[in-house]
Structure formats: structure tokens, C-alpha cells
Symmetry: C2
């Protein structure tokens, strides 16, 4: 592989961490693979030498997922970025794992198709599969889990398998596709993905609505979901996040108040109907009249602001660190969860703007971490408190960011020791020498470290 | 467990086979479990004695799934039929595995909710999970895979685990839920299920449309799907199946011609809009005007006829056996697949009415098996030919009925030896002594039997 495999210090440093988490783990080597065969050979070599292997997409994961905490080889997949096949009649495509979503969607636009999964960052689709990513559109289109038809995977010993296929459903054998989705590079390295696509809707409309209280905004979300409106996006930003976005993205016409951003997809008539129902629910809950963002440019500006929410939050305290939390609860518990988390933030005396894909019950805060001594500990304490609130309401400690290193310690609490033990049995079966992304996802057994 | 565990011959016989497949395998014992704890104790006992264990829902599976081909203990779950919890605000419920879908939907109706997965038979939800079932509504609502939030599972050694949870999505750990879905009782026994529910749509309308040729009917399906209409059901019946249904279900106003049955779900306006687009596509393809089935009674009669298609086909030749095939291809290949299969039926000189959930590319034939010598072989040869057509078009050997005993030999062809080997690794990890439904789903290794 010549220059595509390197010990260069700055390349290793770039691959030693993701976003957000402070965890650093320098790989000994970084290889930029270009084919499945190369990945297979690299993994086979690493396997023979008991060398840890970490897959690297775009490194936007937030829980220390990509840090090579035991050193070894990091395989960067960003050069595996070919779109191999698009089948417009079947609305599917086959791509390499390093393709990022913006590139795929640009490529597909002329064919009237799109891939709806939309984490804030311009992540690789392989990384999105590995973290079971979702994002703003998941309330309508599902997560990446629901949109993958099949995978090509390099196993821990270098063998290459294909899972799933091109058909929309199949009942023939274990669902290995779903087993690799969300496995965070600990069971195999995904090199190709067969993806479901969706038709770009005939009509799209966007709107925003502001509320005097978080409770009113959240109640609106709950009622919109219960009304069965097939809403494409429904995002909540608290007053603090709105303040950040107004400043960072130069949004006009907004007050510093809790806000909902809506998007409706469908036919002209369908979109109108959905929006009317949603607006009347919002008004009933004391929301202001909808501010419409009908032309694409205005709508893009709004969603760009939403996607930049993390950067906007960080810009509030440029010298601070940032730590993103990720809670999800059943929608009926959303008010209790959101208000509980807001109170916890106040108690902690920290600034932590809140933003969320609330149609699923999923929301984040960006805890701005004071640079002073003890700042990191205060942020972690708040994060634990937030997880605690979510779990106590029947939720999960991560709706979409995944486990990585950061959430490992909550897994037993969430799933129970026996369930985690079954996950360990699967891991041991597929990666017996434990070379794939060691120290991630699965918590250590008690008494082990 | 007293009388709930039995060696009674007729009970054992009832549990020795499912529908359709001729495979008989008598269990030595049948136990009617009433709680997860009982299942756990039974499995732990069987584990200690190396006794095979077969889970039994309602025994409607078609590929010899439930036959106790190595004897042992069959655990009948039909008495575990409690609906444990319904959360209307979150549109989910928790049920025991033996609940059948008609019972669940009757229970939910008053709350305006329903569980859309709808295999023809009134199967248990546990059995549906175990076979990754789908049915007429899957084109809109997904398969059972997409509608399960979490499971309680008894593992091969008797330990009990919970997978998933109540939230709509989560990124915390391996997707064990999906691993058990479709595992046909070979990895664990499902005792409880947390299910997503859906709101009964505000408006439902049904229609049928008849065509001069299969090609025209199939082309209509392809175009309806490509138009992105969120159709709830689109079922194809060939002229032979229509002949059977007209006779068996006393349908009036139909000719013996290829037909499509449609159902539209949505708001009043949405349903009207969907139906208009679908009708105009049908007319463009030479279909007759839609015959509307707007009142619920008429619609139910139609869908009852559709669900009775298997019995209607069998009634054409009461002395014959019956063997159901199950093919799925990418929708763009549907015409080629359907016409190829029709030609193969003619070549075989057999009667095999065709019916299918064609919106997914999935269709069945009911091969009527002549009672004479060699009849069974002719049916199997035709089945192999049909599988061959599906696989050669990028399809799967089973869209929804599963593998059981009958489809095992096609799995390597469909997935490749390496992929099957990874499935075997998972099986060996979770059921090391191989007591769970032995001889099913996974093909034997070459040279093994
Ligand atoms: C500002 C911001 C906003 C975000 N918003 C969202 C959001 O809304 N929703 C959401 O879900 N996430 C969000 N994220 C998190 C992140 O974007 C996702 O986790 C994303 O899926 C990671 O993709 P990646 O290519 O960057 O993966 P990486 O960070 O490179 O890797 C993530 C993990 O996957 C593994 N991996 C990567 N590629 C492969 C592969 N081909 N095969 C096997 N394993 C692999 C890695 O080893 C690692 O464990 C956000 C992140 C940021 C910085
Ligand atoms: C007329 C007719 C029409 C049909 N139409 C369809 C259709 O449209 N779509 C479709 O998908 N299927 C269809 N089927 C097939 C069948 O109804 C489904 O496979 C159904 O899901 C089987 O459920 P069951 O409760 O009868 O399972 P069973 O037949 O009792 O068992 C099936 C398999 O699952 C295992 N199993 C059962 N319960 C459990 C449990 N709780 N835990 C673990 N393993 C378990 C068994 O060991 C066995 O391997 C049809 C069958 C008939 C007879």
C-alpha cells in the first residue's frame, strides 16, 4: 500500500480521537484502504499479530469510539468513497463505506432520490451503520437500521462476507445485517452498503413555532405524534439553544424562546393537511402562529442553523470544552424528561443548550465545559444525572450517538447483566482474540478492567 | 406442571408438524407453559439432559419448522396469551408470545390502535417474531422485524434475558432483538414481546381491478410503487387463484382474470388522492375501472377471501396435497419473475394458483400436489425451479415463510458459504449443545448430516 500506510505522527494524532469526548488513543499505524480486499488483508495481518484494529470513517462520533486506546492499526475508510450502483426503479444503491451523506445525496438529486438519514455531521455511511445513527428525519424514515438492505463486512480474521441482499425483506437466516449495525467496529469492518433510497417528496414545507414554555413546546410534540401526522422532522430547541443559533447563524425574526422546527413531506395537498393539523395543535398549546419557510433557500438556512446547533452552542463560550449528551425516553415521558434535565442543568450551574429530535423522544444537551479545574468532573456528573433521568423513565442512555467508551458503564444498568453477557458471547464468537476496537461498547466484566 | 406436561400420543402428533410441509417429527413430550419462569425451568432441564427443545406457537409455519425431527421436548406457548400492558400514548404494548394477532387486534380496536403484521394465518406473535413474518400490510408498515421494540427470551441454558426496551430507537449495544427475530427457535425461546402499534387510520378504502394479462397487472404494481404512493396493501391474484376464490368465497362481480386488490390508509383527502393516482396507473396499463369496496363489510369480505386464498386453492383439488412456495425479487424484476414462474408451472403440468404481496416483490404459489406416485417429487422440482428463478434475479428463497427444514439447502446458494459459517458461529455461541430446534434453519456443513 506504499504511502497509504503511515506512522506519521500528525496523521496518527488526527486518528486518535473523535469529536466531543476528550479521550485520546494514538494508533501505531494508520492505513488508508481503497478496496475491500485491502481491508481484508490488513485485518488478516493484524489478526495474525494480535494487533488491535480500529475502523475510522470521518471521526465525528462523540463517545470516544475511534480512539485507539490499545494502539494498533487504524483503518481509515474515507478513500473508499465510490458510489457503485444506483437502481432508480428499485430505489436502492450500493456504495462503499467511506461515502459521506452529502456526497451521496448530491449524486442522487438528479434522479429524484435521497437517503434520509441525517446526523448533524457529514458522516460516512459506514460510520453511520457502525453507530446505528439517526438524526432529524428518523421520526419519519427510521434510523440507518431501517434503511440498510445488506452489507459487505470484513470479519476479525480477514474473511469477507455479504449479508442481506437487494430485496426489501427476507426470512432466510439470522439477521447479520442488523447485528453489524450499531456494533461500532467491534464485530467486523463494513466495506460496502446496499441502501434503501426514498423519492424526493413532491412537496416539502417547513415552519417554525415559538412557545412561552418548554412544557408547551413538548406537549405540542406529544400531541403531533399522537395525531399520527407523518411528520418528516420535528426539532425542539430550548431558549438557550435559540439564543446561540440566532447569534451564530444570524437568524432573524426569532425571539429567545423555546422553539419547534417542523418539516412536512408529501403531496401538495398532503403537506397542507399535515401542517394545518400541526399548527392547530401548536396554537392550542399557546404557540405563536407558524412562521413558514416555504422557499427552499429559506428552509435550507433554517436547517443549516439546526445542523450548526453544536457549533453555535460552542461559540457561546469559545474557551470552553463541549460535551454532548444523548437521552431518549418514550414520548409520553418527554415532558418529565425534558423538564427534569433542564432542572439538573440549573442545579449543576452549567450552561447546556438543549436540542432534540423530539418526535422520537430523543434529545441532546451540549454541556459547555468550564476550562477551570473540576470543570470536566462537573460536566460528567451532569451527564450521569441526565442518563439517570432517562433510564428511570424507561429510556435508553443513547438514542443515536452510541456507546463507544463513554457510555459503557451504563449498559448493565440499561440492559441487565445477563443481556450484556449474551452480547459478550456474540463478541467472543465473532472476534475471539478481541482485536476489533478493543475496550469499546461492551463494559468490562466486574472485577476485570 | 402436572397435566400440562404430557406424553399423550395425539397431543404429540398435533405438535409433530406445521402446515403444508409433509415433514413429521414426533416430540417425546409436550409441555404447555404458562410463564417465562416455566419455560426457563423446562429449557434448563432439557439443557442438563441434552434434550432437543422445539418452541410451538400455533403451528401454521410452512417449512417443517416445528417438526421435532430429533424428538425431545416441544414447548407449546399458546397458553401464554396475556396482553400485559397497552400504552396508548406511546402506541406500544407488551404481550406474551402466545397471543394471536386476531386477539390482539380485537383487544386494541377500542383504543383506536392496531398491530399491522398480518400473515394469512392467525399466528402467534411469538411465532411471527421467530419466522420474521410479514403479510399483506408489510408494504406500508414493514415486517414484524420493524415493529418489535424488545423481547424477553429464554436462552439455551434456561437463563432469561430482555432485549431492547420501550424507546423507539437506541444505539446501545448489539441488536439482539433483531438477532432473535427470524431465528426460528434455534437461538432462544421468546416469551414476551414489546410491540409498536399504529393508529387505526382515519380513512380506509379498498378497491379491486382486473387485467387481461399478468404482465399488465404486474406493471401496474411496479408503477404504483415507483410513484411513491404509501399504499397499505397491493395484492396480486392470478386467474387461477381468482377462479379458486370466486368459487370458495362466493365473490361476485369478478371474472376469471388476473386481479389486484388494493387498500389505502390515510386521511379522507389522502386516501382519495392515493386511490386516484393508483387508478390512473391501472387504467394506463389496460386495467378495468376500479371496483370500490368502501363499506367495511364489503372490504372485510374481500380481505377474508384474500386470506382464504390458500384454502380456496386447496378446495380446487380436495384430494391433492398442497405446497406453498415463497419467492421475493427486487420490484423491477417482478414481471420477469412472475412470468417465469407462470411458465414453469405450465411446463411442470401442475396446477399452482399464484397470489402475492407484490408491493414488496414477494409472491407465492400454492402447488397442488397430485396424490399419485411421483406427485410430491414433481412439486418439489417445481419449487426448486421457482427458487432458482428468484435467486437468479437477485432475490431471496423466502420473503416471509422462513427456512425451517424445507429451505435449508438454498441458504448457501443465497448467502454464500462464508456468511452461513458466521451464522453457525452465532448459533454455536448461543446454543453450544445444539438443543434448540435442531436440524432447522442452518444447512449442515458439507460432508455432515
Ligand atoms: C455536530 C455533530 C452532530 C451530530 N449529530 C448526530 C445526530 O443527529 N445523529 C446521530 O446519530 N449522530 C450524530 N452525531 C454523531 C456522529 O456524526 C455519528 O455517530 C456518525 O454516525 C459517525 O460517523 P463517522 O463516519 O464519523 O464514524 P467515526 O466517528 O469515524 O466512527 C464511529 C464508530 O464506528 C466505527 N466505524 C466507522 N466506520 C466503520 C466501518 N466502515 N465499519 C465498521 N465500523 C466503522 C468506528 O470504529 C467507531 O467505533 C453528531 C456528531 C457531531 C460532531
Ligand atoms: C394459510 C396460510 C397463510 C400464510 N400466510 C403467511 C403470510 O402471508 N406471511 C407470512 O409471513 N407467513 C404466512 N404464513 C406462515 C405462518 O403463518 C407464519 O410463519 C407464522 O409466523 C407462524 O406463526 P406460528 O405461531 O404458527 O408459529 P409456529 O408454526 O408454531 O412456529 C414457527 C417457528 O417459530 C418457532 N417459534 C414459535 N414460537 C416461538 C417462540 N415464542 N419463540 C421462539 N421460537 C418460536 C418454532 O419453533 C418454529 O420454528 C401462512 C401460513 C398459512 C397456513
Amino acid at each position: 500500500m506504499g504511502e497509504r500506510i503511515t506512522v506519521n505522527a500528525s496523521v496518527r494524532e488526527q486518528h486518535s480521537h473523535g469529536e466531543g469526548s476528550g479521550l485520546i488513543g494514538m494508533p501505531d499505524l494508520v492505513a488508508f484502504a481503497e478496496t475491500t480486499e485491502e481491508v481484508s488483508k490488513l485485518v488478516a495481518l493484524a489478526h495474525a499479530r494480535h494487533l488491535p484494529v480500529v475502523a475510522f470513517g470521518t471521526g465525528t462520533s462523540l463517545e470516544g469510539h475511534v480512539s485507539a486506546i490499545e494502539g494498533g492499526l487504524t483503518i481509515d475508510l474515507s478513500r473508499m468513497d465510490r458510489i457503485l450502483e444506483v437502481n432508480p426503479e428499485d430505489m436502492d444503491c450500493r456504495i462503499e463505506a467511506g461515502v459521506v451523506r452529502s456526497k451521496l445525496n448530491e449524486y442522487l438529486r438528479d434522479q429524484g432520490l435521497f437517503m434520509p438519514i441525517d446526523p448533524g455531521a457529514d458522516a460516512s455511511i459506514g460510520g453511520m451503520c457502525a453507530t446505528r445513527a439517526s438524526g432529524t428525519n428518523a421520526v419519519r424514515y427510521g434510523t440507518i437500521r431501517d434503511n440498510v438492505l445488506g452489507l459487505t463486512v470484513v470479519m476479525a480474521d480477514g474473511r469477507v462476507i455479504k449479508t442481506g441482499g437487494r430485496v426489501r425483506k427476507s426470512a432466510t437466516g439470522y439477521d447479520l445485517t442488523r447485528l453489524f449495525i450499531g456494533s461500532e467496529g467491534t464485530l467486523g469492518i463494513i466495506t460496502e452498503i446496499q441502501l434503501k433510497l426514498h423519492g424526493i417528496p413532491e412537496a416539502i414545507s417547513g415552519a417554525t413555532c415559538q412557545f412561552e414554555s418548554m412544557a408547551a413546546a413538548v406537549q405540542t410534540v406529544i400531541e403531533v405524534m399522537q395525531a399520527g401526522i407523518p411528520i418528516a422532522r420535528i426539532e425542539l430547541l430550548d431558549e438557550s439553544q435559540m439564543e446561540a443559533c440566532i447569534a451564530y447563524s444570524k437568524l432573524t425574526g426569532f425571539e429567545v424562546l423555546p422553539s419547534l422546527f417542523f418539516e412536512f413531506h408529501g403531496t401538495q395537498a398532503g403537506v397542507r393537511e399535515q401542517a394545518e393539523v400541526a399548527e392547530s395543535i401548536a396554537l392550542d398549546n399557546g404557540g405563536r402562529a407558524f412562521a413558514w419557510a416555504t422557499d427552499p433557500e429559506e428552509r435550507n438556512k433554517l436547517w443549516k442553523a439546526r445542523h450548526d446547533a453544536y457549533w453555535a452552542a460552542r461559540a457561546m463560550r469559545p474557551t470552553y470544552g463541549a460535551f454532548v449528551t444523548d437521552t431518549i425516553v418514550p414520548v409520553s415521558k418527554l415532558t418529565e424528561a425534558v423538564l427534569g434535565v433542564k432542572a439538573a442543568i440549573v442545579d449543576a450551574g452549567l450552561l447546556a443548550p438543549m436540542v432534540g429530535h423530539v418526535g422520537d423522544g430523543n434529545f441532546h444537551t451540549v454541556i459547555l465545559v468550564p476550562p477551570e479545574d473540576g470543570g470536566q468532573e462537573r460536566a460528567w456528573t451532569l451527564d450521569r444525572k441526565i442518563v439517570e433521568i432517562g433510564l428511570s423513565l424507561g429510556g435508553s442512555c443513547s438514542g443515536e450517538h452510541g456507546v463507544g467508551r463513554g457510555k459503557r458503564d451504563f449498559l448493565v444498568r440499561e440492559h441487565g447483566e445477563e443481556t450484556i453477557e449474551v452480547m459478550r458471547m456474540v463478541k467472543a464468537a465473532l472476534d475471539p482474540s478481541g482485536i476489533l476496537n478493543p475496550g469499546k461498547l461492551l463494559p468490562d466484566r466486574v472485577g476485570q478492567n
